[in-house]
Subunit: 341 residues, 2 copies
């Protein structure tokens, strides 16, 4: 592979001049410029990004560590992150933590070893020492979706409180009174906040959230299945199951179906995180939709602000309720609300 020396030799100039042409430095004669360009084209020369990074101490690369690539929510997030980063001249390396803290740490470590310019994180847990150290050491960092308390790192996320309140109102209007939730890991903010929001909304209607109706999941389909089975085994099973993410909703649907029960006639189902497939499930699932693309883009902008020395700001965007049929009443009466992405 041709190096800058080969180009210099072919163009009959020094490597310094070649470098100047490549980085369009002002003081290069038109003459030299054209000869260098010709040599570059002739040799098919491409600068070695590794060498350049070593010298300039910047890689123009962002790291993104997400909790689960197989979750369509995170896939969409990753996509929008990459898009915005590319538009701003950065590349993105994605690490999939699979909801496992060790794997998350593995990726953070590799990313740091590669000297990425900044890190976008959606922590699987309450924050490992490695992550905290990196933040303290001044690695440019931004949390997306999930975050960690007590760390001075900007957070870009959606606020679901209002949407959860709307959901509960919707459920209450439909006559449901026994509402259960499949929560995410308590160590994650999205795990605990969604339960809190749900509980608060229930309280407004004078409803309680008994322990028996609070199942502990891990954001994976299997846990949704398991928790749902527990709910259905109860002497008095809930009328509604609210899953704190889309995969657990899938598991719940499985479990309900396996018992020969019907949604929403026997049990109603709702989920946090809307995804395209929810339109096509049987029945279509009522969900709380996050502005995923906007979240990803805002996170990248915040991170790059931080990297380039500007002051990054935390961002909170509202989530919204998308009513479909999984909680009852085909929603024909109110056609306004029947929004599809």
């Amino acid at each position: 592979m041709a190096s800058i020396k080969d180009v210099a030799a072919a163009a009959g100039v020094s490597v310094a001049t070649v470098s100047r042409v490549l980085n369009d430095h002002p003081s290069v004669s038109a003459e030299s410029r054209t000869r260098v360009m010709a040599a570059v084209a002739e040799l098919g020369y491409r600068p070695n990004a590794v060498a350049r990074s070593l010298r300039t101490d910047q890689t123009r690369t962002l790291g993104l560590v997400i909790s689960d690539v197989l979750n369509p929510y995170f896939t969409e997030l990753a996509r929008s992150v990459e898009e915005e980063a590319r538009a701003l001249g950065y590349s993105v390396i994605i690490g999939n933590a699979d909801e496992r803290p060790e794997l998350q740490d593995h990726h953070i470590r590799t990313l740091l070893d590669r000297r990425i310019d900044g890190l976008l994180l959606s922590p699987t847990d309450g924050g490992t020492p490695l992550m905290l150290d990196a933040a303290r050491a001044g690695t440019p960092m931004v949390f997306v979706d999930r975050w960690i308390r007590g760390v001075d790192v900007p957070v870009v996320r959606a606020d679901g409180q209002e949407a959860v309140r709307e959901l509960v109102a919707h459920l209450h209007r439909l006559g449901h009174r026994r509402l259960a939730i499949i929560a995410g890991p308590a160590a994650t903010t999205t795990g605990s906040e969604r339960v809190a929001a749900f509980r608060a909304a229930l309280a407004e209607y004078g409803l309680a959230l008994p322990d028996a109706y609070t199942g502990q999941g891990d954001f994976q389909a299997d846990s949704g299945r398991r928790v749902t089975e527990g709910f259905l085994d109860l002497p008095e099973p809930p009328e509604v199951i609210f899953a704190a993410d889309n995969l657990m909703a899938l598991g719940a649907l499985d479990a309900i179906r396996a018992r020969g029960l019907r949604v929403p006639d026997d049990v109603a189902l709702a989920a946090f995180d809307d995804i395209p497939w929810f339109v096509h499930t049987d029945p279509p699932i009522t969900a709380i939709a996050q502005p995923t693309g906007e979240l990803g883009r805002a996170a990248v902008r915040a991170l790059i602000d931080r990297i380039e020395g500007r002051a990054p700001a935390s961002v909170t965007l509202p989530a919204r309720l998308v009513v479909r049929r999984s909680c009852g009443e085909p929603s024909l009466p109110s056609p306004t609300r029947r929004s599809e992405p």
Copy 2:
């Protein structure tokens, strides 16, 4: 950030010795080794992967360029690729081409600039000059899923011929005679091969595949929708629509639903590429499942064989039919076939 010099100074040895300890070279005294280790721990030193790569001319990184991250098939592929690569000590950088050749080239170029050790490709098209040049220049490369004829690059893919034959047999048995296909881009192998396999299977039953029943899609949901509308507008619409990938099947389902028609009563639907959601759509969709995880792992092994100087082999694995209810007959008669992943 601490460098090897700092470690050397802290341990009272030369950088050469530190390097030897780090790469556990045999001739280092136990004495030096422990002192270096202590210094490393004390300083929290981590070798700079950029510098190391420059010197050794290897990055221990693989590039993976896929056609569409939002397609669950490719997400799963990416996941298995990363998993196997990690197990073998490599990292993976994923590029999403979004079915756009320019974007694909952008990613190939960036990956090459970063001097990745090898490239895993699922080409969006017939092969851009850049891609062909890279192959010719000797960049270790392997095609996954989709490939390009006339290039000397190993291919790891699934063979769907037998499964398509089974599908057609299944459809014929159910009494369907007017079968249509939503094809992928003809420039992709998966685009053309699936049509060919379908046509060949139909021929075995004395059925033709008229042009009117061959719609041109681009592997995206929208195109599935558009083509399906065309089919339904025909004076004699098909009885079955076979989508060459899962996203186009989703679009087809949308279009059918929008007309107020029912699956499978009014039109039957089948898809290439099985995904977890197909179990939960209304109705569950009959699909041809690829051994996605195995494909990803085999591709990584082939690529690493090539990188490390062993002779890589092409791999072809069989796809299989998963019968659900979208083509008619609840499949109760034959419970053996009702396999779920």
